[in-house]
């Protein structure tokens, strides 16, 4: 279970990425965030954003149209 949840359903990329970025900026290393989205592009874009900005995707679950991406906030290095 993640510490925080972000509802990005019906948003199209890059909006789920932007909302993830904005939320992660408010969190501290070690926090976990679950991004709930429906745009299949987010499955590629959120992990890519995490890789370039030094965070980790720990799990991706897809159930019908809904995608749940778990992010571990790191120190961004």
């Amino acid at each position: 279970v993640s510490d925080y949840e972000l509802d990005a359903r019906r948003m199209l990329c890059p909006m789920p990425v932007i909302r993830t970025q904005d939320k992660v900026e408010q969190l501290k290393p070690g926090d976990t965030l679950c991004v709930v989205c429906t745009d299949p592009g987010a499955v590629h874009d959120i992990p890519a954003w995490c890789r370039v900005n030094g965070h980790q995707v720990t799990d991706i679950q897809q159930h019908e149209e809904e995608i749940r991406i778990s992010v571990l906030v790191c120190d961004g290095q």
């Binding site: 199209l12 990329c13 299949p40 592009g41």
Partner: protein, 347 residues
């Protein structure tokens, strides 16, 4: 010990901005990328919506570029502020509703604000003199630097040798001799430099990365403004202009007709904001109605929707209408004849 200088590179996801950032990165500068999201970006959306585009890579090119370069990328939502650029461009539009020069000035201005907030030293863009007819000309390059407020903090590494030295060059933060003097519309120097860097698989430039450069999209936006009697839009409006067939059979209403399952699903998300209809007796599109409509209008819309369904040749097609006020209605209509759909209804 020399201080490590920091540059913010505007990353569109295309080749030029990738190369510009790489040139500066290779000079030992700490580079981070900025990508602005205006709502009109071609990136992602349409690929994610349409099933026929499923085979296309869903990657966000700006993120892909950042990953290739090993730099951070900050994607910044400028949707609200950007409206003024689209609606009131001081320098006018290009061949469609593309306010390219004002857009570049605005983005560099936002980048200037960003470097001030984040303690960065200068801005890097992938501009090349002569590359684009509106915003990348010899006479407009100084306009961008001046009107954005970036002035000498704006460095264009791909054509720097054709321009007066910027502050990073004058101060010796970067070596001007290792910058480039590209110019004109040819892509060959960029492709050669990409090969030199061992870069392949970069996004191919194909008319820019903005829907506003697209003639048909611009026509739909102009129609939206005309129908509303004012030049304004919300994000949902400009997203919907990217999806479906748009027909305006009467001046006071427009139909947005899903072309396939992916688009129907996308439009389904807007069903509570619009009167909408869908076929029940045959497989067919979901149709949103934009505008205030009467029963007579809905009867016409139903006939048109039936024409775009698999019941197009049937004697009757049954549809369900869900009015914005919440009422439901079932209609049975004869699909409209192809020749009765006037050409100028298509936007």
């Amino acid at each position: 010990m020399n201080k490590t200088r920091k540059a913010a590179a505007l990353i569109s996801g295309g080749l030029d901005s990738l190369l510009a950032a790489k040139v500066i990165l290779d000079q030992g500068i700490h580079v981070e990328g900025i990508n602005f999201f205006t709502g009109f970006c071609v990136e992602g959306h349409t690929h994610a919506i349409r099933k026929k585009d499923k085979a296309k890579p869903k990657r966000n090119n700006a993120l892909w570029v950042a990953e290739q370069l090993g730099i951070k990328l900050h994607i910044i939502d400028i949707i609200e502020e950007y409206k003024d650029v689209v609606i009131n461009p001081k320098h006018g539009y290009g061949s469609n509703l593309n306010p390219c020069l004002d857009c570049k000035i605005f983005m560099v201005h936002k980048a200037k604000e960003w470097i001030q907030e984040h303690g960065f030293d200068f801005i890097v863009t992938g501009e090349v003199i002569g590359q684009r007819p509106k915003s990348q000309r010899k006479d407009t390059m100084p306009v961008i630097a001046r009107e954005s407020g970036a002035d000498e903090l704006l460095l264009r590494p791909l054509c720097a040798k054709n321009l007066p030295p910027s502050k990073p060059e004058l101060e010796g933060w970067v070596d001007r001799n290792k910058l480039h003097g590209f110019g004109g519309r040819t892509r060959k120097p960029q492709m050669a430099l990409a090969a030199q860097f061992g870069l392949r698989d970069y996004a191919q430039p194909a008319g820019g990365c903005c829907f506003l450069t697209d003639r048909q999209y611009s026509q739909k936006l102009a129609d939206l403004w005309k129908a509303r009697g004012s030049r304004r839009y919300e994000l949902d409006d400009i997203m919907l202009l990217k999806v479906g067939r748009h027909l305006r059979p009467r001046p006071h209403f427009k139909m947005i007709i899903g072309r396939e399952d992916g688009e129907n699903k996308f439009l389904h998300g807007y069903r509570k904001q619009y009167t909408h209809l869908f076929t029940r007796s045959h497989k067919g599109p979901l149709v949103l109605i934009d505008g205030e409509v009467t029963q007579e209008d809905i009867d016409l819309a139903a006939q048109i929707a039936a024409r775009f369904s698999q019941g197009r040749n049937a004697a009757k097609v049954e549809l369900e209408v869900q009015w914005l006020q919440g009422d439901r209605q079932t209609l049975s209509v004869v699909p409209i004849a192809v020749e009765a759909i006037e050409k100028d209804w298509y936007l």
